[in-house]
């Protein structure tokens, strides 16, 4: 208890640690949440090359313009011009309606609508393609219905032929594929990681030599308890902001999130101790830790799922860093409300990570600071001429 109280005083006295623990999660959540305030990619600029100029082709153009996802911004008269606008990024999609489009349909001659999408940004390209396909399929079905009705079939009969079967889509948990829902919790998880790494490591560096002198494990546990305790409060505020301000659903149990979070922080304390033992200076330590933010978020299975990575790569990531076992389950515990048992394999892997790496981290810390203490002692002796 005494050690815990001492460590609490140490942390409170260090304004840098306090700033990181208190301000970090809240500010970053607000900065990143605001990026996705416009939840969907709407009004994507489209240019139209209408070589038919019939009422049907104009109707199709109007369907695109009236769709929330698209905004027809230009009309061009050649494919080259369309390509040029796509090349220089003025438009994101080009719509080409061929010559005699309307006549061909009435003559029952096959015709083809072409869309050209700038594929450099996959998000935009997928959105354009999916929405354009929906509009054109509706047009196509309408044309088939008219032809069959003209042949004397009733609307119902024609419809049952054209739509031999229907398919319905139901997107669970996030029906509109909102990027806010998808990404914000990933960044909250990353901030939790970075804030803990920085605060816990700095607190070790602040009194590393004293720490290794007596009861190092108790000192480390006390530091962990203080940093994790404050972070639990501030990251709860960050999660509350995601929920209240940015509308991310909280469908799970806070206790489950807490359990996973604490086990993750326990595992994360191992690389923190190792880097602190090697860096031994506050600024250097923070610089190195910050450099890990990007590689860890890329490899945590969020953007690119774990099962899509090469097998050896996923194993390597799991052996080296615990974040891969935290980011996705953290999100799913909150957003989907999965039971803790569904994340049990992640918890087991985190515990194994801790069991393997903690002795190594402790050994490195002891060795590093004892060496430093010896060096300081020698320097002191030399200065005194002993």
């Amino acid at each position: 208890m005494k050690i815990l109280w001492t460590e609490l005083k140490n942390v409170v006295k260090d304004s840098d640690i306090l700033r990181i623990l208190i301000i970090g999660p809240i500010i970053i959540t607000l900065i990143i949440g605001c990026i996705y305030l416009n939840t969907y990619v709407d009004d994507m600029p489209v240019a139209v090359l209408d070589m038919d100029q019939s009422s049907l082709s104009k109707n199709i153009t109007q369907l695109f313009d009236e769709d929330d996802r698209f905004a027809v911004t230009q009309y061009v008269d050649s494919e080259e011009k369309l390509k040029e606008l796509l090349d220089n990024g003025t438009i994101l999609m080009g719509l080409c309606i061929p010559k005699d489009f309307s006549k061909d349909i009435s003559r029952l001659k096959q015709t083809n609508i072409v869309t050209m999408v700038n594929g450099e940004n996959i998000i935009v390209a997928n959105n354009c393609y999916a929405q354009a396909a929906t509009i054109i399929n509706t047009v196509s079905a309408g044309a088939q219905l008219k032809v069959l009705q003209a042949e004397g079939y009733s609307y119902e009969k024609a419809k049952s032929m054209v739509l031999a079967f229907n398919f319905e889509d139901r997107t669970l948990y996030d029906p509109k594929f909102a990027y806010m829902n998808y990404l914000l919790l990933a960044f909250v998880a990353t901030v939790i990681q970075q804030v803990f790494l920085s605060a816990f490591g700095i607190s070790i560096i602040n009194n590393g030599s004293e720490l290794v002198r007596e009861k190092p494990i108790r000192h480390l546990l006390a530091k962990f308890a203080v940093c994790a305790g404050i972070l639990t409060v501030t990251s709860s505020i960050a999660i509350a902001i995601s929920n209240r301000v940015f509308g991310i659903a909280f469908n799970g149990s806070p206790l489950n999130v807490f359990v996973l979070g604490i086990i993750f922080l326990l595992a994360l304390s191992c690389p923190a101790i190792i880097i602190a033992a090697l860096a031994k200076e506050r600024v250097k330590y923070v610089q190195i830790c910050l450099m890990f933010s990007l590689p860890t978020i890329i490899s945590c299975g969020y953007i690119w799922p774990q099962e899509q990575m090469p097998g050896w790569f996923a194993v390597l990531v799991k052996v080296l860093w615990p974040f891969i076992n935290f980011a996705r389950p953290f999100d799913e515990l909150i957003f989907k409300g999965i039971p803790l048992s569904a994340a049990s394999h992640n918890i087991i892997q985190l515990l194994i990570y801790f069991a393997v790496w903690f002795p190594i981290a402790l050994l490195l810390l002891m060795k590093s600071y004892r060496k430093q203490a010896r060096l300081e002692k020698n320097q002191g002796c030399n200065a005194l001429g002993v």
Partner: protein, 401 residues
């Protein structure tokens, strides 16, 4: 000034070799990250998305539909059940990301012209997987429906199947995705990820590079000192940017369709702009840790706000006003264009001019700040010396008395 600049470069190099942090942050971690993303996104496309099927009809038609999904490399049917609740449970526990429910009597209803409905379920919490699954599943189902519709029209009208198929395909649709036709994640993400990590490395080191205690008294020497840091980190950053671009292009198969010299020139402009920004902070902020954290908050999330992944048009107005002032905004799109498209000369020139103006402005602030804070530090030092001398004299006077 030139001498102090060289001296400053040498000193920084010595520090890099002896302390290792500079090498770790600017060279080792960015290069390893380049290899890391190269291996991680090696495949480029998602395949084998876990799927569950609830075929409650178990007819020839329903089995044929399931077979189409089984043969498509995008999907991997992991579970087959005849219970839709079980399928929902598998989705809830994240064991599958896609579900297909074929209702009882599906085939019978189709033959009876009742247009039965099958249900596709997607896990919306994992957009990157579900969006692709939705596109691929829709393609499969539309193709199947097309064939089924043609067969039904042929049977009902007595026309040949080929004619019925023509009617079904009366309005065809072709989508041409330019520059990244296969929708490869590798082509899309690797250029920005390798750039972002180098940017972070440069700014974190440059933001603590100017050390007040190392500043010499003469004005020119102070400027030479700051210039030394500028060239050291700017050049180092440029080399790592170019190395990372080359690695992605040579070893991980990302096409490079643009002009290589443009990439080098843009990298010079970008690396020096970021360095100048970091140095500007370093010149007036005493608390190095706080300075590092501020720069991290400004630069680490920057790939998200420049319109590279989340389109610029969808950003809130405030971000759209601020982000054009970030160097990455003027670099990322150009580099992606160099990889996947061809970069227009006008764009390139405009951004190079921006880099020049931004760097010049940042350097002017850095020089002014270095001179002012240097002078303050000297004044404080002189004051301290005077007070120490005064105290010594008083002490000596006391002793003599």
């Amino acid at each position: 000034m030139f001498e102090s600049m060289l001296k400053s470069i040498k000193a920084e190099w010595k520090r890099a070799v002896s302390e290792k942090t500079i090498l770790i942050v600017i060279i080792i971690i960015p290069i390893l990250t380049g290899l890391f993303v190269g291996f991680e996104f090696e495949k480029g496309h998602m395949t084998g998305i876990p799927m569950a099927v609830a075929d409650m009809d178990n007819s020839a038609t329903s089995r044929m539909i399931v077979q189409q999904f089984r043969e498509n490399e995008t999907f991997h049917i992991k579970y087959e059940t005849d219970d839709s609740d079980m399928l929902k449970k598998l989705m809830d526990e994240s064991k599958v990301r896609v579900g297909l429910i074929l209702p009882r009597g599906f085939e019978k209803d189709m033959k009876g012209s009742k247009s039965p409905t099958l249900l596709m379920l997607y896990d919306g919490s994992h957009i990157s997987m579900s969006a692709l699954a939705k596109i691929k599943a829709t393609e499969i189902l539309l193709t199947l429906r097309c064939g089924a519709a043609a067969r039904m029209i042929a049977a009902n009208t007595g026309n040949p199947y080929a004619d019925a198929l023509k009617l079904v395909q009366l309005v065809g649709y072709t989508n041409r995705t330019l520059y990244n036709p296969t929708g490869s994640f590798k082509f899309f993400l690797n250029p920005i990820l390798v750039t972002a990590i180098v940017q972070t490395g440069i700014v974190l080191m440059a933001s603590v590079a100017i050390r007040q205690e190392e500043l010499e008294k003469k004005k020119r020497k102070k400027i030479g000192y700051a210039l030394g840091k500028f060239f050291f980190y700017g050049l180092l950053g440029t080399v790592i940017l170019v190395v990372n671009i080359t690695v992605q292009y040579r070893f991980f198969g990302i096409p490079f369709r643009g002009n290589y010299s443009y990439a080098v020139i843009l990298s010079v402009g970008f690396a020096f702009s970021v360095t100048a920004f970091g140095l500007m902070f370093s010149s007036f902020m005493r608390n190095k840790l706080f300075c590092t954290l501020i720069n991290a908050v400004l630069f680490i999330p920057s790939p998200l706000v420049i319109g590279y992944t989340w389109p610029f048009i969808s950003l809130p107005k405030g971000y759209r006003m601020v982000t054009p002032w970030l160097p990455l905004y003027h670099y990322a799109d150009n580099v992606r264009n160099l990889f996947l498209n061809t970069l227009a000369k006008a764009h390139f020139e405009k951004d190079i001019l921006w880099f020049l103006a931004f760097t010049a402005a940042m350097l002017c602030i850095t020089f002014a700040s270095t001179l002012i804070t240097g002078r303050k530090a000297e004044a404080a030092e002189e004051d301290r010396e005077k007070r120490t001398n005064g105290q010594t004299l008083e002490l000596e006077g006391g002793i003599h008395a």
